[in-house]
Subunit: 104 residues, 2 copies
């Protein structure tokens, strides 16, 4: 499986963030071709090391990196990416990691 993990810092307006994320961004992102699973953190995030002001973590799963790249390059992928810049415009407020993974 390949995944994209997106880590959002505490937003200035959490209510507005939630509204946009859950009502607009998730429905847009779920249209990305090849998306197999979309998980969102629920409740507080405990930080044992690293930045302490983390608010939400979203994880998108695809079969492999190739499927993910094709998904992000599609019209639906571009729309979801553009939408992200609306509710989290400041790149210092987000971390995004894309990687292939295997079970050990």
């Amino acid at each position: 499986m390949a995944g994209m993990v997106v880590i959002y810092k505490q937003p200035a307006d959490a209510k507005a963030f939630d509204k946009h994320y859950f009502e607009t961004h998730i429905p847009l992102a779920k249209k990305i071709p090849g998306l197999r699973k979309y998980e969102v953190s629920r409740g507080p995030i405990t930080v044992l090391a690293g930045p302490s002001d983390v608010y939400l973590i979203g994880t998108l799963h695809f079969d492999d990196l190739d499927s993910m790249q094709k998904g992000f390059a599609s019209a639906e992928g571009k729309a979801a990416g553009a939408d992200r810049r609306l509710y989290a415009p400041d790149e210092s407020g987000v971390q995004m990691f894309i990687f292939d993974s295997r079970e050990v």
Copy 2:
């Protein structure tokens, strides 16, 4: 499901890191009671936003936060935690996030 995501920065000695992580840490961590799945990133990690010097991402999955807490509090959990401080002693070189999640 609940998960712990551990993000490691590029180590000074990647070969030594890999040896310890794959040969010692993973076998120790897999003994933690309640661990359902352990995934490790494979190959390069693409960073779209955030720190660019990420080397490896490990994700441990448990049924829920309660199972995870019990697992980490066990002798096996403590041994795995202590071992982590051997191959990644500098907390500035690691990020660790613990959270419950749901599929959307």
